[in-house]
Amino acid sequence: MRYSRQIILPEIGEMGQQKLQDARVLVIGAGGLGCPVLQNLAAAGVGTIGIVDGDVVDETNLHRQLLYTLKDCGKSKAGIAKRAILELNPEINVTAFSEFFNGDNAAKIVQGYQIIVDCTDAIPVRYLINDVSAAKRIPMVYASIHKFEGQVSVFNYKNGPSYRCLFPEQEGLNAVPSCAESGVLGVLPNTLGTFQATEVLKIILGIGEILSGKLLIYGALHFQTQIISFVKNPKAVEKGFINGTLLLNSKRTNEDLTPEAFLEKCKQSGIVIIDVRELEETPEFKRNNVVRIPLSGLEDYGKKLDKNQEIVLFCQTGKRSQIALNYLIKSGFVGVFNLAKGIESLKNQIQ
């Protein structure tokens, strides 16, 4: 029988296998880390698995993302990964979300899951996952890689420290490259993803010691591992908890505004209106609460704002403000609006 070699372990047994069968795990990112996580969880018999990835398979993924083959190129990673792990183990339930995890879909996607595995490759979404995990009080199993090195940890486990306790500020994180920019040894994410899967299984089974409050650093080139410990920073945990709770509870209204709705919104008190056009662009839209922050300066400006600050964005045609909106939402802002067709659509309304 399929699971006999793990059931035979006294630490697992029939009861442990039942726990695996009953477990619901969400894997965000089906790339280098996500593939081995998914393979191992499916093989072990984790009963319900969600896969979130808005990307498609690319030939450059194949050296490390072992669920995919050449003929999958161009197809949805979430969809292909689902098919592949169901082939491996048809006894489990798998849901594919072919979309990138963001503030808009977070509440819908995480519904019902008990553990989140962070296999993403962007720092802003990591804060989002942390905050959602903190708010839902479910653990987040983290790993990330850089060239020949990797980090693993478990956040928000039984009220333990969060990602924000380890890396508190978001400033300057654009300087951190992802695999596409800096290169990666193909085997590395497979090692780290397998570490993540190990932590997931231990959490479900309630065995061993979990990497909570500990950051495991693995260096493949010199075969070095070290464990750095860190403590809970209540303020950092609370920040994530509040952000996540607001996000999950808000009737999210990030949306495109018509010219009429935009002008109405601009009258609202406490709102910040950001003109993301270059400074020389006209016509000028004059209001007390309008600031001119070209797209290139938005990252810096965004850091000064509270994530709950309501923001209205506009540009000439709606294109740049849409980019700005996506960026701010990814950074964790919860109330962002966008003048859909830009200031050009306002021509009749403004004198």
Partner: protein, 99 residues
């Protein structure tokens, strides 16, 4: 570097001056920038705070100040006020992004 450390350890015993030697380890992007996995530093002081060390290192290597990182002392994440002593091992840990 290693040689000078050995020499220093010897002189320290007979010297009346206070000195400290620490090992710095760099990870991720910080190892790329410094082109080093680790190095040793000697200061004419008994102790140094994490924030003072951070400034010294950021003076030594351009571009480090643009990167977010956490510092651990003897494998425990520190605060800026943490005191570093002789023989401590200090790691510079940036978050990784790849997945």
């Amino acid at each position: 570097m290693g040689q000078s450390i050995t020499k220093y350890k010897y002189t320290r015993r007979i010297s009346k001056f206070n000195q400290m030697t620490i090992t710095l380890k760099y990870f991720g992007l910080l190892a790329d920038i410094t082109q080093l996995k680790e190095e040793q530093f000697t200061f004419d002081e008994d102790t140094i705070s994490v924030s003072a060390l951070k400034s010294k290192i950021e003076n030594n290597y351009n571009n480090i100040q643009n990167i977010t990182y956490t510092i651990s002392v003897n494998q425990v994440i520190s605060s800026l006020q943490t005191t570093i002593k002789d023989q401590d091992i200090v790691a510079f840990l940036p978050p990784f992004a790849g997945g």
